[in-house]
């Protein structure tokens, strides 16, 4: 990587795929995919644990009594939409349209924040009104660990994308920061995919299973 990679690129100026135009970019791209492979095993282990313990609710509410699908459906829609907006952002990145990329990334962050606040509200309701806490039963521990780990990923993703946006707000797009934006968006998609599984395995199967 050299100083000329810091040169700001305008539409039509840069190579076809700015995120993979340098060796560092290629390495980041591939390394991040491998990292997501490891994350998949991490979540698979948490899902396995949850499935083994989901009926160990003792005196607390069962999954059927606890979950309401309306709120979770809205959360799912919000997060899926945020994935779409991050795709738009990457589309504009590939066209070197920095301003539009920033706008769509901003929308992604806002959607992520609304997802997060709904999740906080959901947990608050469980703890305050349903007596479903982290320590009340093995089901509680497994539920909060799985869904909470996902939530922690959302928080980390939001901080990540926001810092990238602030750091690069003034200098625009270049071959040095394009891979950074790109892997952050990959991370965001991964979070979204995990949530689809949580929606299915935790909430839908909790209602009917």
């Amino acid at each position: 990587m050299s100083a000329e990679e810091l040169k700001q690129l305008k539409p039509g100026q840069g190579p076809h795929e700015p995120e993979k135009a340098t060796l560092e970019g290629k390495n980041k791209f591939l390394g991040f995919w491998f990292f997501l492979g490891g994350e998949t095993v991490l979540f698979a282990s948490l899902f396995g644990t949850y499935l083994a313990l989901k009926n160990s609710n003792l005196d607390g509410p069962s999954t059927q009594e606890l979950f309401g699908l309306e709120l979770v459906f809205i959360m799912t829609m919000i997060l899926l939409t945020s994935s779409l907006t991050s795709v738009y952002a990457m589309y504009h990145m590939k066209n070197y349209d920095f301003k539009k990329m920033m706008i769509w990334l901003g929308i992604t962050v806002l959607l992520g924040l609304s997802f997060l606040s709904l999740e906080v509200y959901e947990f608050y309701e469980y703890v305050m009104h349903d007596g479903h806490t982290f320590t009340s039963s093995a089901f509680g521990s497994a539920f909060y660990t799985l869904v909470g780990t996902h939530g922690a990923h959302v928080i980390f993703g939001l901080c990540w994308i926001t810092s990238l946006m602030i750091r690069n707000a003034k200098r625009g797009l270049n071959l040095y920061n394009a891979p950074k934006f790109y892997v952050a968006s990959l991370y965001w998609h991964f979070i979204d995919v995990v949530w689809v599984f949580i929606f299915t395995v935790v909430y839908l199967m909790g209602k009917v299973g």
Partner: protein
């Protein structure tokens, strides 16, 4: 944007250099020093275990201390000795073998080391703060969850931090191999060590997250009131066994596969022959890696998973003997008709083949689920896994360190002392562990503090202890050899072993940029191809030009230090919630360091063409 200069440095400057280095060769030395230290520590613990068992009804150490001793011996040897020493070998040889100037992520390479180092220190601090972990290196729940004191908390936090370092290292090597190979270095021209490291890194990537989750669950149970492993609250202790072994079984292949690759290179070099059945070796390596994920429940035959599950896992386990057998025969055929030089690395390799094969036989015996009900938790198991881990991994580490010592320090270890180190270690190894199979079949359980007199176990245990001391003598001679070589031996220059692969095309020790010009690879055993065709050196694949190098950085040290402090804080917040402040402060150090890393552009610098022509970086 500085240029490289060669000058004598003071101690402080050298220390700072190693604290901030991102050079894979220096990181290899760091791994060697740290891993070597923990190897000696784990060896000391092993000797204490063997002294306790030298005679029946011995009172050398107390029962509680004995539990800590075998727990820490296992944990230290696997996580803090074998893993980093394997990483030493990968770091020093892998980039050179594929013709790369460094790994794909030099920063992460440094981060991986410091995470491992701080995790290891945290784990061992437990000795000084109220007692070490005492629930076995497998830490089965509920024993581990209910173990009093903070010992197991140190286990959880220490392994979590060092495990993260290992995972980072695995990803780094994967990307390095996929993206950084020199022109012409196709996958099927890669040296076997590189191939084995590639498969190993895949195993690390998919195995370590399972351990991460297991440790998170145990951390929540022990320190934050969760109920994963508490049956009275609906928990299930079997979850730990599954998560631990989904990690733990691939882990043993993570340790042995690089050593298989290394021995393939060593045997081929010192037989002066191309490796017999190269493509079969690659296939066998990949197959072992794949099957390694399919067999974890063979550690749980007596848990009660049922006859069907036991049968499936028994058959899968036995199947691993097939690719392993392919490897054993290919090594033998490589030597057959070769022009064999019995150097020290070759001596370890030749000692390894029968030793590991015996260990493999024990493994197939243990794979028979019905018979395993007899062997389970006896010294037969202890004998078996020490045969594969010491007879395989430790022999391999000795061989590898000796083989690549020129790349690390520019000198060949003294051959005579190397052979004097080999023999007591080799004989002592067989004395220690062969008899343990028989002790196990006689019914001696593992992890027991004492055995009774007049049970016919006396002689076997005495022999085993004497063997352990012979191994200690071998290790001491090896250390003497290192000191002797550093003081007395001459610099060896380029290619001291008449090597076949790319790491021997650069001077020993290599300049910090490895290759002045990236070589063009024209076949398997790239250097040998050139030697046979009379060139004697590689054809460059690029004109001489500026070389881009990464900057040194202190941030990996700070990130790891933060997690270390956070670990201590979280361990002690169980007693007093004020310790949470320490925990959060530690996390802040980590996150702020990550933030700084993210905000500051790190563009590296260039070594200029003119300086290269003047010989910058060569010693």
């Amino acid at each position: 944007m500085s240029t490289a200069t060669v000058q004598k440095r003071g101690f402080g400057a050298t220390l700072w250099d190693y604290l901030t280095t991102v050079d894979h060769k220096k990181i290899a030395i760091l791994y060697l020093v740290a891993g070597g230290f923990f190897f000696l520590l784990g060896g000391l613990e092993a000797l204490i275990i063997r002294i306790q068992l030298i005679k029946p009804d011995n009172e050398f150490i107390s029962a509680g201390l004995y539990n800590q001793m075998f727990t820490m011996h296992g944990t230290t040897m696997i996580f803090l000795a074998a893993m980093p020493l394997i990483f030493t070998l990968m770091n020093i040889a892998l980039p050179l073998q594929i013709g790369a100037r460094d790994v794909a992520f030099p920063f992460l390479n440094s981060l991986g080391f410091w995470l491992f180092a701080f995790g290891g220190v945290l784990l061992n601090l437990s000795w000084f703060f109220g007692g070490a972990p005492d629930a076995g290196w497998t830490a089965y729940a509920p024993l581990s969850v209910q173990s009093p004191g903070h010992g197991m908390d140190f286990y959880v936090m220490g392994l979590q931090i060092s495990g993260a370092g290992t995972l980072i290292g695995g990803i780094n090597f994967l990307v390095t191999i996929v993206n950084m190979r020199a022109p012409g270095m196709t996958y099927m021209r890669m040296p076997m060590f590189t191939w084995a490291s590639f498969v190993t890194s895949i195993l690390i990537l998919f195995a370590f997250p399972a351990l991460t989750v297991g440790l998170i669950l145990m951390m929540f149970d022990r320190m934050f009131g969760a109920n994963f492993f508490d049956p009275t609250m609906g928990g299930n202790v079997i979850i730990w066994e599954h998560l631990f072994w989904i990690f733990g079984h691939p882990e043993v292949y993570i340790l042995i596969l690089p050593v298989f690759g290394l021995f393939s290179d060593v045997i081929s070099t010192f037989s002066k022959k191309r490796l017999f059945g190269y493509s079969a070796m690659v296939f066998a390596t990949v197959l072992i890696g794949f099957l390694g994920f399919m067999v974890w429940a063979h550690h749980m035959f007596t848990t009660g998973l049922g006859a069907v599950a036991n049968s499936i896992f028994a058959v899968a386990t036995m199947a691993i003997a097939v690719p392993t057998g392919i490897k054993i025969f290919n090594w033998l055929f490589t030597m057959w008709g070769g022009n064999i030089r019995m150097t020290v690395p070759m001596l370890w390799a030749v000692g390894f083949i029968p030793s590991f094969t015996i260990g493999g036989f024990g493994g197939v015996m243990l794979a028979v689920a019905a018979a395993d009900y007899q062997y389970h938790d006896t010294y037969f198991v202890v004998g078996h896994f020490h045969y594969v881990i010491v007879g395989g991994v430790v022999f391999g580490i000795f061989a590898g360190i000796t083989y690549w010592w020129p790349l690390l320090f520019g000198k060949v270890l003294n051959e005579k002392l190397g052979k004097i180190a080999f023999w007591p270690f080799f004989i002592g190894f067989h004395m220690t562990f062969f008899i343990q199979h028989i002790l196990g079949l006689m019914g001696m359980p593992r992890r027991y503090w004492k055995f009774q007199p007049n049970e016919s176990l006396d002689i076997g245990n005495l022999v085993s202890t004497i063997g352990a001391f012979l191994m200690a003598i071998g290790t001491i001679v090896f250390i003497i050899n290192i000191i002797y070589t550093a003081l007395k031996e001459e610099k060896c220059g380029t290619d001291p072993w008449d090597g076949r692969t790319l790491e021997w095309t650069v001077p020993s020790p290599p300049p910090f940029y490895n290759f002045k010009q990236i070589p063009l690879v024209r076949g398997l055993d790239a250097l040998w191809v050139e030697k046979v065709q009379g060139n004697g050196e590689m054809t460059p694949a690029e004109p001489l030009g500026d070389i881009h190098m990464p900057n040194n950085t202190f941030i990996p040290f700070m990130i790891s230090l933060g997690l270390f402090i956070a670990g201590i804080g979280f361990i002690y917040q169980v007693d007093n919630k004020q310790w949470l402040i320490v925990g959060i402060a530690g996390l802040l150090i980590t996150f702020i360091s990550m933030f700084v890393r993210s905000m500051k552009d790190d563009l590296g610098y260039h070594v200029h063409k003119e300086d290269l022509e003047k010989g910058a970086g060569s010693k």
